[in-house]
């Protein structure tokens, strides 16, 4: 293996139809963003899976560490008052 530069990795997000959000589909290697878009078209949308593609170079994504899931996500667990079922209403109130 040489020390020359290889094509970087890109993360591919596809909107499957208007009205839906872009969803992560996978990743691929490409020399630049334009090529990443073209390759994503061929790799991830050969059967009309999308109407819009986003590509982001993988190195630009910052991900949370699952080891810190406790301090990140646990504070939400004991806040039941954020849910409608926490509140008592008389049975007569049908819709609220």
């Amino acid at each position: 293996m040489s020390n020359k530069k290889n094509w970087p990795l890109w993360e591919i997000f596809v909107r499957s139809k208007n009205g839906l959000e872009h969803r992560h589909f996978g990743s691929l290697h490409a020399a630049d963003a334009d090529m990443a878009l073209e390759n994503a078209r061929d790799v991830y949308t050969r059967r009309n899976e999308g109407v819009s593609i986003w590509v982001v170079e993988s190195k630009h994504i910052t991900a949370s560490n699952p080891e810190n899931n406790g301090e990140l996500f646990e504070p939400a667990q004991d806040k039941v008052y954020r849910h409608p079922t926490f509140y008592d209403l008389p049975d007569e109130v049908k819709h609220m």
């Binding site: 293996m1 530069k5 290889n6 094509w7 996978g26 990743s27 020399a31 090529m35 699952p66």
Partner: protein, 318 residues
């Protein structure tokens, strides 16, 4: 980390899998889990890539435009499947370059079925029908495997794979209904691909080394012998339907088991091909490595162009 802490983490990890939780790339995982997955997923990716070669051989000689577009699309799908699987493997911390290097140096294996030659058009039918048929049986349970990126890649692969098998069976059906020469060609392809397809489902359970651990990690949900039986039971009636004969004199319906009994598989042949002595091992690697090397200047030029374009943009921005 102390040995005890690792033991503890491993225990929690196995419990998560037993509860059907998925493992994602940044989660802690035992080193053996990582290594086993890199090996199996990359072998799978390599098989898709090398699998393009025997069929690529016939694209320019397909008998009609209809057959040609279908075969071209199938081979393109295989490239896509290889790419899904390579990028899923990379989430385990191995680079694409390392994976290619392992394939090209012969360190990594790929499915030995692709080391058989494709000498007639009917081979395109037999491969789609039998080889893709066996692959589907192998792959469907993997849609539920424990490693998230692998499971997601497999769902996509399986969705696309069923057209592959249908196009193969249609080719066989047409030939079987054609002239006596065409029918003979179809039968000959079945004769040559039947046994290698059975071998493709892996060594028998008593000699298969990875099964127990793989079952736990859901890399495998049924044993090789069970998958093979499933393949045979499903394929024999399909052969009957188009008037072709499975090349196994010992094949017989077993009323009691509600399954077919079948003859002895030549495992010596299987191991010979795995060890590199199949009819086309050298040819396949030569074609693959050659394509990679001949493409080097294109990859380099694209990278140089991208860098130049970026520099120009940065200059303009100042």
């Amino acid at each position: 980390m102390s040995e005890e802490q690792i033991k503890n983490l491993e225990k929690q990890f196995e419990e998560r899998i037993a509860r059907d939780e998925k493992i994602e790339p940044k989660d802690w995982m035992p080193e053996k889990y990582r290594k086993t997955h890199i090996r199996q997923m990359s072998q799978h990716a390599h098989s898709e890539i090398v699998g393009m070669l025997p069929e690529g051989n016939w694209i320019t000689r397909a008998p009609s435009l209809r057959r040609k577009v279908a075969l071209l699309a199938k081979v393109q799908d295989e490239a896509g499947h290889g790419l899904y699987l390579y990028s899923a493997t990379e989430t385990l911390g191995v680079s694409r370059d390392e994976l290619y290097e392992q394939l090209h140096s012969g360190k990594a294996k790929y499915s030995s079925i692709f080391n058989y030659p494709t000498i007639t058009w009917a081979d395109m039918g037999a491969i789609g029908w039998l080889v893709d048929g066996a692959a589907i049986i192998n792959q469907v349970p993997l849609c539920n495997t424990s490693y998230g990126p692998y499971a997601r890649a497999m769902i996509r692969v399986c969705k696309e794979e069923s057209f592959h098998q249908r196009q193969g069976y249609e080719i066989m059906m047409k030939l079987a209904k054609g002239t006596p020469e065409q029918k003979e060609m179809a039968q000959d392809a079945l004769n040559r691909w039947w046994w290698p397809s059975l071998m493709m489902l892996g060594p028998t359970d008593d000699v298969s080394v990875h099964t127990e651990q793989s079952m736990k990690w859901k890399l495998k949900r049924k044993s090789n012998d069970d998958l093979r039986q499933q393949f045979i039971d499903q394929t024999v009636p399909q052969a009957d339907l188009i008037g072709l004969t499975i090349p196994d004199p010992d094949l017989k319906w077993n009323e009691e088991r509600q399954s077919y009994d079948f003859g002895e598989i030549d495992w010596d042949e299987f191991w010979q091909v795995v060890k590199g002595h199949g009819p086309c091992n050298k040819e396949r690697m030569k074609a693959r490595v050659g394509a990679w090397e001949r493409g080097e200047w294109v990859r380099d030029a694209a990278m140089a162009h991208a860098e130049k374009k970026q520099k120009r943009q940065e200059k303009q921005a100042v």
